[in-house]
Each structure stands twice: as structure tokens, then as C-alpha cells.
Amino acid sequence: MSEAATDPQPARRRPLLFIVPLVLFALTGVFLAIGLSRDPSTLPSALVGKPAPTFALPPLEGRDDHGFASTDLGGRPTLVNVFASWCVPCRIEHPVISRLAEQGVAVQGIDYKDKPEDARVWLRELGDPFQHLGADRDGRVAIEWGVYGVPETFVVDKNGRIAYRHVGPLQPRDVEEKILPLLEKLK
């Protein structure tokens, strides 16, 4: 932190020099403290405030649904959850999503780079909270949404614009503090 700045052979007459490491550390500490107060999972999204991309995904084979397309968005605030059966955090997050659906929130799903049979087993095992579910086999639609990795969750307002993006598993706290107030506001 201070190595380069400190004269390796200090003279006694310059006691100020010896404070340099302390000052540099204090500066570092301030940044670390601010860094701590920030949530590393809130990645900025260029799409927030813009209309959701146009897409039409086929249904998950064997699920009674027409798939999921941009035409299913709008009209009311909607949650779009991008997940995969092979992703562990998705499994952790799933009960949170299911509870939101039980509370009457419209939840749509994008099944990312998944095998249909795996996804079916997964939904059978953990429950299926999704109104519409699209199978994004090659992950192309997820790219248009700007997805970095699963799970990610978007809030789309009633005009079909992306209002919020959450990276990583949704925790109950995120729902209480961010998702529900936002949905309330968008109504």
C-alpha cells in the first residue's frame, strides 16, 4: 500500500514520512468500508428503463403452455425469472419465487440452456410457480436480456419496460426490501 511511497532509508529529521503508510492505509480503509456497504450483486443493466427485448420462446416440452413471448409482458407488473435445473443457487432461490407466485405476483420463467427432461423433473420436485415458461435451449434470448449467469430476475412494468434487474438468487430480504415495494409502486 505504501511501499513505493516510503523512502527506504529514512532520516530522523523527517518524522512526517513515517505517517505516510498510516495515511495510505486509512484511505484504503475508507474505500473498503464504502465497498462493504455496497451490494456486489447489483450489476448495472443497460436495459433498465428500456422496453423488454422482443422474443418468442417455445414451451418446455410436456408442459401445458404456449411458451413465453414478449407479447405475454405488459398489462400488469411481471416478474421474469431466468433459471436452470443445473444451477444450485436457483434451487435455493426457488421457494422465494414460489412464494411470490402464491402471493399473486405474475411470474414468468425462462429456462436457460437446460435439458427439457431435467427441467421437468426439477419443476415436478420443487413446484411450478410459472404462468408462462419458455425454454431457451441455446441461451440466445437470455443474451438479449443481458443475462450474465443464472439465476437472474427482472421486474417488467405494465408498459413492458424493464424496471429492475436482480443478479443472483433472490433472498427473502431482497423481496421484502426491493421487489415487493417496487411491484406496489408499479401497480
Partner: protein, 662 residues
């Protein structure tokens, strides 16, 4: 029940550390031998209690006691025994127990082996060591208790992150922690010296073996981590400038600088306050590394436990430990008088250059690691600083360092003779130019950068060989008995220095040749298809399904031949761990001294083929070989009588200016 004993032992350890961190200071200040005498027994007792807790936690893992939340979250019944044990430290809480255990271990070692230290000084060292322990034991008990119970207990655990289920993981964290935490002794010695307000050649002599010990294990730990990343992550690379890797590199650079500057303190009684600062910084960087990995401030592929609440606690610890010691430094260090004048061309001048370059390199790595955080904090973008930054800043600092290594280690103390040294290094200079030109001749001018790197590596190796031969008096005509007699008389630290520097050269050679000569082929292969890689014919035999103890895998088989002669058969697996629901990749690697063949099976393609990645990595083994040589050199130096931990105080009569090696 055993878990409760472990929990209670942690509380007792905290109590011991509190006693050890207060009364000895008081005793040392009041010259009270009874209070001073408390330091050693409490240090040993603290170690005993932490060992008990550590043992209890390992026991819970081995017996799959899922009534402990920590075990349930990180282990499973269907897991090989070695990973049950290594799983103990494969998570946040458990790794903290390991951390504190090693801290207590070093405290106990100072108590048991430090009989050559003055009692008051030893009491202060142990006191400082105990205060660090208080911080971390409290951190563990209040925010990260590994002994919390779950009720009801689940039938099976959630398993261990499969990427961590690997023999490398059983070794890597303990080694790394031994190194990190081992630097705490150097820190404690420095802070104790600041409290006493006195530092002299004997202080340097005391602190060096402890620093060297930590440095050896840190070197091994970083090498093990790099090797693990190489074969487990399946990317064909061995260093990724990931924040977690940087967190281990920074203390290593600082410790390396410290090892060298302590020689100057010992021999020339100067550079004192700088050496103290380095001792503080080396451990501070270890603490910072712990903070970065644990707090979630930086996101990284390696970080397996992040929690902002814990981050606040560690930041508090950091502020007290680093801030406190630097306040002490600002207050007491100016009074530490340096002796002697510094001639730029001298052994101490060379060591100073070494220190400047190494510490600048550490600062560079720190800057690159923290820059994304700073930028984010002041409202900029979320960015990540990657290899290009480090290659552009770190490498140029290493070039002058490597150039100077052979010269600096041959310069005399006080006033060196550069022309004379170069004259004696003529053989090494010749070999170096020959190697560089040979590389250019075999390749073309575009390879000049690689030729430069290669020449640097050869220069460092040839230089240390050259010096060793000169010191042994190898000349024409060869007088074997004289050489042998000299070899016996040469201090082990001199052998150590030669070996360490040669190891550095081997490392540089490995890095350069691997980087310049790597051949990567990414293609889709159908079973039965053959392709060419660096003169080898590689046939993809197909994929079979295999069942592991706690995973299923697709195993791809590759047969390698050269001109029809069989070379090897390699298997690369894509494993799937059902409990954890995660896939991992096992590369198929064939290692020889000169090259690695490194094959990775990828995803199936629609036409029945498989995506495969084939790498030819020349000289890659030398990277870890060089690191091993450096560590071995450290052991050799440590066995030198003058440095040995716990060796009786050496006689002052030594007149021969035996150069100490690192």
C-alpha cells in the same frame, strides 16, 4: 457432546488469549518476571484449546454429524473420507478455525523454541500474537461459530462444492494459511520491537527464520493453488490474476522483500525502520487478503463464503491490527537510527534495489486488485482488472529485478566492484546470449519477446551456478579435493541462496516458454476422428458413462501417438454431482519434464461429435518445479546453524563475512 466440548474449548482459548495478550505486556513494562512468565504457558494452553476445538470439528465431519449446521451445509454421507476431512476447512467457519489454529501454533512455537529471545521481548511478541488471536477468536465466536446446532438435524448434508472435492484442496488452504498466518510472527516481532523502541542486528537474526518458515509454506501454498487451478478449472492456464490469487501473491512479495532487507539489518545495521514496515505490511497484506476473500467486497471465482456482516467485523479487525501497528510505527520508528552510509554499488545497494522492485510490484498488484472497488465506490462503472493490466505493470518490474539478481548477489558489502563482478560473470553472460540467440534462430524475430524472457531465465540460473562454481573454486585444472573441501565449508544458506535464485530462473523459463509456446486447439471431434497437435496425432476414441462415488461422469478417451508410436491414452471427464447439482471438468493431462498434453472434453455437438479443447503446454511443469526449488532452498537455509529456530545464540567471533541467502 464432542461438538459442545469444541465450542467450550474455543471460549477457553479466547480466555487464554486475553490473559496472554494483557499481563505479559504489563509484566514486561514493570519488569515483573512472574507476569512475563505467563506468556509461554498461556500460549501453549491457547494452542491446546484451539487444537481441541479443531479436532472436535474434524470429528463432526468424519462422523457426518449433521446436527451441526456447518457440517450439514458442507458435507454429505456419500463423500470420500479424505474430502470429509478436507471439507472441514473448505468453508468459511471451518477455514477460520484452521486460521486460528495455525496462529496459535505459531504462538506455541515461539513459546517452545524461542528460548534464545530475551524473556521480556518474547513476552511482548507472544502478547501481540495473542491480541491477533483475541480478534479472530471473537470473530469466530460472535459471527461465524462452526459449532451451531441444527434442530431437527437433516438426514443428509448439502455436500461440498464439487470443485473443491479434489486432493489439491486438501493441501492448498492449509499450506496457504500456514504461510499467511506464519507472517504473523514477523508482525509480532516488529510490533514488539516498536514497543521496546529498539531494533538491532540480533532482532533481524531472530525474525529471519520465522519469516523464512512462513515464506516457505506460502511459496508451496501458492504453487499448490496454481497447480490446482491448472488441472481442476480446465482452462489450460495456471495463473489468472484473480483477486484471491493476488491476495496470496502480495504477502509473498512483501515477505520476499522482508527476507532480503533483514539481511541488511543483520549485516549492516541499517534499513531498520523499512524492515519493520515490511514486517508489518507482509502480515497486513495477508489480513487484507483474508478480508477481500471473506467479505464479498470483491467477487471472485474462488470466494466460497461472502457475507457483508462478517466483512464489517473483519474490517474492524483490520483497522485495529494494521492501523494500530502503523500508528505505533509513525510514533516510534523515527527514533530508530540507521547506521552507515549507502553506496549504490554494493551488496546492500543491490538488496535495496530488490526491495524497491518487490515492494513496488506488491503495490502494483494491490492497486490492480483494489482499483475496481475504488472505481465502483466513487461512482464509476463495475469493471474488472485482468491479466493485461498486470502483464503491463508487473512484468516490466520483474525484468530489472531478474537482471540484477546474479549481479547483486555477487557484489561485496559496503563497496562493490561492478566491473569485477561482470568480469566474473562472463560465463553466465555468454550462456545467456547463446540461449536467446538459439531461441531466435529456431523461431523468428516475432519471438524476440519470448527470447528475452528465456534469456532472463537462463541468466538467473547461469548466474547462480556461476557464483556457486566460483565460490567452490571450480577452475581449470580441476582440484577436486579442494572443491569438495570448500563445498563442505560453504554455509547452507549460501547453497540455499544459489538454489532459490536458480529456482526463480527455472520459474521464469517455465512461464516464458509455456506462454510463448502453448498451442491451443478448440474443435468438434467425432468418435474415431484424428487430429494433429504439435507433432502428435490425437485420436478421439469416444465417450463412455462412468459412475464415481458421488458423481456420474461422461468420460472422453483420447489416444495419442507420434509417428504411429503410442505415447499415452488420456481421459477427460465431465462430472456431475447430483447432491450439489453441479458439473465439474476433469482435464486429461499427460505430464513430462518437457511438455504437458492437456485435453478437456466439452459439450456434445448436435452432429454427434463433442467440443474438445486440446492444449500443448511446453515446460509448464517447470513453473511449479521452480517454486518447489525455491521452497527447498528455504528449507536448506533454515537448516543453517546461524538461522535455525531455537539454535543457541551464535558466537560473536564469526569473522568471515558469510553471505546469507534467501
Amino acid at each position: 457432546m464432542i461438538a459442545e466440548i469444541g465450542h467450550y474449548a474455543l471460549v477457553l482459548a479466547l480466555g487464554m488469549a486475553l490473559v496472554q495478550g494483557t499481563f505479559p505486556f504489563w509484566g514486561a513494562a514493570r519488569r515483573d518476571p512472574v507476569l512475563v512468565g505467563l506468556a509461554c504457558p498461556t500460549a501453549l494452553a491457547q494452542f491446546l484449546f484451539v487444537s481441541l476445538a479443531f479436532g472436535a470439528l474434524i470429528h463432526a465431519y468424519v462422523t457426518s454429524d449433521f446436527s451441526l449446521a456447518n457440517v450439514a451445509q458442507n458435507s454429505a454421507v456419500e463423500k470420500p473420507m479424505i474430502y470429509k476431512i478436507s471439507g472441514t476447512w473448505g468453508n468459511h467457519e471451518g477455514s477460520l478455525v484452521l486460521w486460528v489454529w495455525i496462529l496459535a501454533l505459531f504462538g506455541a512455537l515461539v513459546a517452545a523454541l524461542g528460548s534464545n529471545l530475551p524473556p521480556a521481548f518474547r513476552a511482548r511478541v507472544l502478547g501481540v500474537q495473542a491480541l491477533i488471536g483475541v480478534g479472530f477468536l471473537a470473530f469466530m465466536l460472535f459471527t461465524s461459530n462452526p459449532f451451531l446446532r441444527l434442530d431437527p438435524a437433516p438426514l443428509d448434508g448439502r455436500g461440498l462444492n464439487p470443485i473443491l472435492q479434489d486432493p489439491g484442496l486438501a493441501m492448498h488452504p492449509p499450506l496457504l494459511y500456514l504461510g499467511y498466518v506464519g507472517l504473523s510472527t514477523a508482525y509480532s516481532f516488529a510490533v514488539a520491537a516498536l514497543i521496546e523502541g529498539r531494533i538491532d542486528a540480533t532482532w533481524a537474526r531472530w525474525v529471519r527464520p520465522w519469516t523464512l518458515m512462513a515464506w516457505i509454506v506460502l511459496t508451496l501454498g501458492i504453487a499448490a493453488g496454481s497447480y490446482w487451478a491448472y488441472y481442476e478449472l480446465g482452462w489450460g492456464g495456471w495463473w489468472f490474476w484473480d483477486p484471491v490469487e493476488n491476495a496470496s501473491l502480495m504477502p509473498w512479495l512483501a515477505a520476499t522483500a522482508l527476507l532480503h532487507s533483514a539481511i541488511v539489518v543483520e549485516k549492516r545495521d541499517t534499513l531498520k525502520s523499512w524492515t519493520i514496515l515490511l514486517a508489518i505490511l507482509a502480515f497486513s497484506l495477508s489480513l487484507l487478503g483474508t478480508f477481500l476473500v471473506r467479505s464479498g467486497v470483491l467477487t471472485s471465482v474462488h470466494a466460497f463464503a461472502t457475507d457483508p456482516a462478517r466483512g464489517v467485523f473483519i474490517l474492524g479487525l483490520l483497522t485495529v491490527a494494521i492501523g494500530g501497528s502503523l500508528v505505533l510505527y509513525a510514533w516510534r520508528a523515527p527514533a530508530m537510527q540507521g547506521g552507515g552510509v549507502f553506496a549504490p554499488i554494493s551488496r546492500e545497494g543491490g538488496l535495496l534495489l530488490n526491495n524497491l522492485l518487490l515492494s513496488t510490484a506488491a503495490a502494483t498488484v494491490l492497486l490492480g486488485t483494489l482499483y475496481p472497488l475504488v472505481l465502483d465506490t466513487i461512482g464509476g462503472d463495475k469493471i474488472s482488472v485482468g491479466a493485461p493490466f498486470f502483464n503491463a505493470t508487473f512484468v516490466p518490474l520483474m525484468v530489472p529485478l531478474l537482471l540484477a539478481v546474479p549481479v547483486g548477489s555477487m557484489l561485496a558489502w559496503k563497496r562493490g566492484d561492478l566491473a569485477g563482478v561482470m568480469d566474473r560473470l562472463l560465463a553466465a553472460v555468454g550462456v545467456t546470449f547463446a540461449a536467446g540467440l538459439l531461441w531466435l534462430a529456431l523461431h523468428d524475430f516475432r519471438a524476440s519477446l519470448a527470447a528475452g524472457g528465456l534469456a532472463l531465465g537462463v541468466w538467473v540460473i547461469a548466474g547462480s551456478l556461476n557464483e556457486l562454481l566460483l565460490r567452490l573454486g571450480v577452475a581449470w585444472p580441476l582440484d577436486l579435493s579442494r572443491v569438495l573441501a570448500r563445498a563442505r565449508g560453504l554455509p547452507r544458506s549460501a547453497w540455499g541462496m544459489a538454489l532459490a535464485h536458480a529456482g526463480l530462473g527455472v520459474l521464469v523459463l517455465g512461464i516464458t516458454v509455456q506462454g510463448a509456446g502453448q498451442i491451443e486447439r478448440i474443435l468438434v471431434m467425432k468418435p474415431g476422428e484424428t487430429t494433429e497437435l504439435a507433432g502428435y496425432e490425437v485420436r478421439f476414441d469416444g465417450v463412455s458413462q462412468v459412475q464415481g462415488p458421488n458423481y456420474t461422469a461422461q468420460r472422453g478417451t483420447f489416444t495419442v501417438t507420434t509417428d504411429g508410436a503410442p505415447v499415452t491414452v488420456l481421459h477427460s471427464e465431465k462430472r456431475f454431482f447430483p447432491i450439489e447439482g453441479m458439473p465439474t471438468t476433469e482435464a486429461g493431462i499427460d505430464t513430462t519434464l518437457w511438455r504437458d498434453l492437456y485435453f478437456v472434453l466439452g459439450d456434445p455437438a448436435p452432429d454427434g461429435g463433442f467440443a474438445v479443447r486440446l492444449y500443448y503446454n511446453p515446460l509448464v511443469l517447470w513453473i511449479w518445479g521452480g517454486a518447489l526449488m525455491m521452497a527447498a532452498a528455504g528449507v536448506l537455509s533454515l537448516s543453517d546453524r546461524r538461522l535455525r529456530v531455537g539454535a543457541p545464540r551464535p558466537a560473536r567471533a564469526k569473522t568471515e563475512p558469510a553471505p546469507a541467502g534467501a
